[in-house]
């Protein structure tokens, strides 16, 4: 903690204004989630572009930003992914000071468990790639896993025994709402307009360039339009005649009651589809697998939760009598290679940021930074340059199925 004073939720500090939308903006960001808000912040801060509106159809940061399990890590396999996620992690490390707002960023480490010999190979491969990319990563055997997280059951005769784990000590969690509010507060102070309950219903494209958006609160002219509407990317892009290689799926999560501290880190298991941490107030926060069928519903199927609980108890027998207090779902958009699409589109002055699947939260500062650069300069930032739409034509995919917590 540095000396710089930070505001925090509960102290009543003003967060953001709710102005009426102006007739036009230099940049209109469609989607007031974490990515949209952070992009507005970096547009203002890094590029001096403050005539910006963030349009949100519901309440600000009420989509996936409000629904994710807040895991932050950068231990992705491929160079391209490690680049943008590690950039994000470095920004996370200075975010509270940068925003002057408490976001409860806690670098408690993340364990990604391996349950089969192939998991072990894949894990070691990723750890080594991470280290060569400057991302902190270690391979831990079962005993070390137990040291880092004593409540993990590492008995070798378990149905899917823990054969080890990758460990990223700098990884952790943050408080999602605080992050959104901290960014919004700082951006609002620089002049960005956050316009809630303003649904985009159309995108005007003339002569191959985007001109304006139609909204439930009227037409808003825009020099540039930046899409950042995770879950609804296809719908919004479709308004500009743009087809995206993404599919929307429901992803569920749940929370327990407040419990005395038992779980000091974050544990993820691809094989059994569980990821869990214990938030600062004491509740267990857990994510599940995605529902198979396309869906825009924020409620998933219950058998996914039942399966998740069974898997969780295999790893953490101590959770047996913890209670599920609340379950919920969010809509994630998933790409064929489990990597995002961030950059230019065939439509002039229209930019797209989508396809983060289950992993968008952790990227928030990084994608905000790079997307703002892309919008401001009309050229992708080197870190998001690999994440083009064109890669699906050339075949130069960034296949991160192994690194996502949920098999897509």
């Amino acid at each position: 903690m540095t000396g710089r004073e930070r505001a925090r939720p509960g102290d009543g500090t003003a967060l953001w204004d709710s102005p009426e939308p102006a007739a036009s903006y230099d940049v209109v960001i469609v989607g007031g989630g974490g990515h949209g808000i952070a992009t507005a912040y970096y547009l203002a801060k890094n590029h001096g572009i403050t005539n910006v509106a963030v349009l949100e159809k519901g309440w600000l940061a009420g989509g996936n930003m409000a629904r994710n399990t807040t895991i932050i890590r950068s231990n992705y396999l491929w160079d391209q992914s490690a680049g943008i996620y590690e950039h994000a992690l470095k920004l996370w490390e200075g975010l509270e000071d940068d925003l002057g707002y408490e976001v409860l960023f806690s670098q408690r480490g993340v364990l990604n468990l391996a349950h089969s010999l192939q998991d072990v190979r894949d894990s070691v491969r990723r750890v080594n790639a991470n280290r060569l990319n400057g991302v902190d990563a270690e391979w831990l055997g079962p005993e070390r896993v137990k040291e880092v997280c004593p409540i993990v059951d590492v008995r070798p005769d378990a149905r899917y025994p823990v054969l080890g784990a990758t460990y990223q000590p700098r990884a952790g969690i943050a408080k999602h709402d605080h992050v959104a509010w901290g960014y919004a507060r700082a951006a609002s102070a620089m002049g960005v307009h956050f316009i809630e309950h303003c649904e985009v219903t159309g995108i005007e494209v003339t002569d191959g360039r985007v001109r304006a958006v139609q909204t439930t609160r009227g037409r808003i002219a825009a020099g540039r339009v930046a899409l950042s509407a995770a879950g609804h990317s296809s719908v919004v892009a479709g308004m500009a005649g743009l087809r995206l290689p993404v599919q929307s799926h429901t992803l569920q999560a749940l929370v327990s009651e407040l419990l005395e501290p038992v779980h000091p880190t974050v544990v993820m298991s691809n094989a059994v589809h569980v990821y869990v941490s214990q938030a600062h107030k004491g509740e267990l926060v857990m994510g599940a697998g995605i529902d198979a069928a396309n869906s825009y519903r924020r409620r998933g199927a219950f058998h996914i939760i039942e399966r998740q609980m069974a898997a969780a108890l295999e790893l953490f027998p101590i959770f047996a009598r913890a209670h599920v207090l609340r379950t919920w779902g969010g809509v994630v958009d998933v790409t064929p290679d489990a990597s995002p699409i961030v950059g230019l589109t065939p439509v002039g002055d229209l930019y797209v940021n989508c396809g983060w699947g289950t992993g968008g939260f952790k990227a928030t500062p990084g994608v905000g930074w790079c997307y703002a650069h892309t919008i401001a300069t009309g050229e992708p930032h080197p870190l998001n340059a690999p994440f083009t739409l064109e890669r699906f034509t050339t075949g130069a995919l960034v296949d991160e199925h192994g690194a996502a917590a949920v098999a897509h």
Binding site: V205, D207, G208, H232, S234, V235, G238, A240, G241, L242, R243, L244, P245, V246, Q247, S248, A292, A293, N294, S295, Y296, R297, A301, F302, H303, D333, P336, T345, P346, V347, F392, T393, T394
Partner: protein
């Protein structure tokens, strides 16, 4: 747990089925004649509407038949399909035009199809 109406076995729990995504995307007649872009359309681009969606399901834990139905992705409402014994032929080629592979990708003029 959705209740999926298998045209043969009747309504069964979603967990008995495999999901096949968008219906009516046919394998191109001559893949070799396609441009890379057209081939990419076939491989990776599928409709993703918020609303009625014609999609494929496979009763993998039951009769193993593939079939199509229309489900609203915003409400999960399923449009009733023919009763068992009179199932419409499933699959990709049975539905409408021959896929999207030949659709041009021209965003400025309103996108594919």
């Amino acid at each position: 747990m959705l209740l999926i109406p298998c045209p043969w076995c009747g309504p069964r729990d979603e967990a008995e089925f495999g999901y096949g995504g968008q219906a009516g995307v046919a394998y191109p007649r001559d893949p070799g004649a396609l441009t890379d872009e057209e081939w990419a359309r076939y491989l990776f681009f599928r409709d993703n509407p918020e609303g009625p969606f014609e999609e494929r399901w496979n009763h993998s834990a039951g009769c193993r038949r593939w079939f199509n139905l229309t489900r609203n992705t915003a409400t999960n409402e399923i449009t009733p399909i023919s009763p068992s014994g009179d199932a419409s032929p499933p699959g990709n080629v049975a539905t409408g035009e021959v896929g999207t592979a030949s659709a041009s990708w021209d965003a400025a003029t309103g996108g594919p199809r």
